[in-house]
Amino acid sequence: MKKLFFLATAIFISGCTAPNDEKIRLGAILPLTGGMAEMGLELQKSLIAEVEFLNKNGGILERDLEIIFEDGQCNPGVATAAAQKLVRVEKVPVILGGLCSPETLGAAPIAEKNRVILITSVSGAESISDAGDFIFRNAPEGNTNGQIIADHASALGLQKIALVNELSDFPLSVKKTFLENYDGEIFEENFAPGTMDFRTVISKIENEKPDALFFNPQQNQSFKVFLKQLVEAQWSGQLFFNNTVVGNPALYEEIEDFLQKNDAIAGSYDVVPNPQQTAVLERFETQWNRPALFRHLLANQHDSLHLILAAMKKTGDENDTEGIRDFLYGVENFVGASGTFSIDENGDAGKSYSLVKFDGTEFRNFERKK
C-alpha cells in the first residue's frame, strides 16, 4: 500500500501550475502572517494598486505585469522556501525583497545563486550590503537612524538616556551606532519580540530617573502597548523612537497630547512630499478606499518597482537579469516618490534618515538645533 502512496504524491506534485508566458511576472516576499503582518499586508496592497494602475495604462513592453506574493513570516527558513518556489517554479527574474532583514537574508542566497535580482525596500540590517551581486536595497541602513538620534541627544545636552531595545536585527543595528555616537550615560533594557507587558521595565527605568527614553522596536505592535503602559506610569521626559513607528496615525490614537507634551522625536526617511508620492497614496486610496499607512515605506517600494521596470524597458527583455543588474548599478540621481537617490557599488540606495517631530497629529520634519 505504501509504494502506491509515494507514486500518487509524485504524480500529484508534477501536474501543477505550468508558468504561462504572456504576462511579465515578478515575485514578492512579504510577512503576510505573524507580528509584522500589518506592515506586510499594507505594502502588498500598495503593490496590487500599483500593478492595477500600470496594467490599465498599457503595462510594460506592451505586456501586463503580474506580481506573485509569497509569505515570508519574517522567518529566514520560510523566506528561503518562498524564494525557491519563486525562482524555480514561477521562474521570476526579479523578487521585490523581504520586509524584515531575516526574510531578505533568507531569500538572498537563493536569488544570488540563480542570478535573480532581489531588491528590498525596508530591510535595514548592514549584512544585506554584502549579501551578493544581485542583491539591492532601496532603503536606508538601520544604523544611520541611531547616529542622528545620538547627535541630536548630545546637542540637547541630555546626560542619561534609557534605551529600550527589541531583540531583533534592525533595532540591534540602530542600537550599535547609537552607542558609538552617544557619550552620555546609558541605561539599557532589552525585550523579546512579542512581549506585551512592559510595566516592570518601565518601573525600573523610572527608578533610574533618566533625562530621556529611546524606544527602539522592530515591530510597531510593541510601540502601541509600550506607550499605553508608559502613559499609565505617568512618565514625563524627552522621548526618542526609531523610524518603524512613523507613518501610521492609528498608532497615535489618544496619546497625541502625551507625545507632544514630551516632544517625541523619531528618525525617519527623508521623505519630502512630492507629486509622485501623493500619486502613490491616491492610487492606494482609490483601490482600497482608505488612507494608506506606512507612507514612507510605500514610497520606497514604489521606487524599487519603477527602478526594475525602467531597467526592463532599457534591456527590452525582462529575463536579462545581468542587464537589469548593470542598469541598477548605473542609477544616478533617480527622482522617485521617496526623493532623489543613486545606487552605490554595494547595491544600496544610500538613503539617509532625518529627524521628525510629533506635532499633535503626525511626525513631521523640523529644523534641528545646530
Binding site: 507580528g35 532589552n190 523579546a192 516592570t200 518601573s203 525600573k204 505592535q221 502597548v225 506610569a233
Partner: protein
Amino acid sequence: MNDLLAQLIWNGLVAGSLLALVSLGLTLIYGIAGFVQFAHGELVALGAYGMLIFHKFLGWEIFPAGVASVACVIFFGIFLEKILFRPVRKKNPLVPLVISIGLSILLQSLILIFFGPQIQTISDRHFESFSVAGKFLATPNQLCAVVAAVILTAGLIFFLKKTRRGQSLRAVSDNRNLAQIFGVNIDSAMRWIFGVSAGLAAVAGIFLGFERNLEPMMGVQISITAFAAVILGSLGSVRGAIFGALTIGFAENLLVGFGVIPSGFSSAIPFLVLIGILLVRPTGFFGKSSQFLRE
C-alpha cells in the same frame, strides 16, 4: 515619587491574579478530564475580542459588554466540549490533548482572519492611573482585575467545597467511574467544568485586553505561562494553581525589576521557576511525593 519595591509587588500581584484566573480553568479541566487543554489561551483571547465587538463596535457600556462576552465564551466552551472532547473521553488522555493543540492553532488562525493581524485596543478612553498611598501607581483596570480574581477564586472554592454540584464535580475528578455508579451525570459535570473554566478565561481575557491591548497571538503567551503555573502547583489542585500563578507573577516582576535576570529573559522566568521546583518535587509543589506503587 513612588518606591520601586511596592510598584513591583503590585505589578506582580496584578500579573499573578490574571494568571490565576487562567490557571484555575486549566487545572479544573485537568482534574476532571485528565488532559491539559492547550486551547485554553484562545478562550482568553476570545474573551478579549468578544469585549472588542460588544464594547467598541456595538458601543455597549463596559459592564453589559463584559457580561455578554463572558456568556458567549462560556457557551462556546461548552459547545467545544460537546463536539470535540466528548467523543474521545474514553480514549487515553493523549488523544484529547493533541486535539486541543489542533484546536488552538485553528482558533488562532480564525481570530487572525476575522480580526486581522494588527493590534487593537478595546477602549479609546485612557485610564488615569492614580497613586496608592504614595507608594505605587495603579490603574482602575488593575484594581478591578485583582478584586475580580479574589472574588471569583473565593467563589469557586466555596462552590467546589460547599455546594452539592461542586462536590459532585470533585467526585468525578477523583474517580470518574465510581462517581458514575453513584448517579453523577458525567456529561453535565463536564459541561459545568468546561463552562466555568471558559468563563474564568474570558474574564481574564477582558482584563488582559484592557491591560495589554489585543493581538491574535495573545492567547499563546498567557496559556504557556499558565501551563507552568498549573504544573508548578501540581496538576488538579486548585490551591496549587493559585500558588503557582502568584509565584510566577511575583517572580517575573521582582527578578526583572531588581535586575537579577535581564529583561530580555523575562519570558523564560516561568519555566526557570517551574523546572527549579520540579527538581525538588517531581509532581509539583502540592503533589504527593510519588510512592512507586501509589502513582
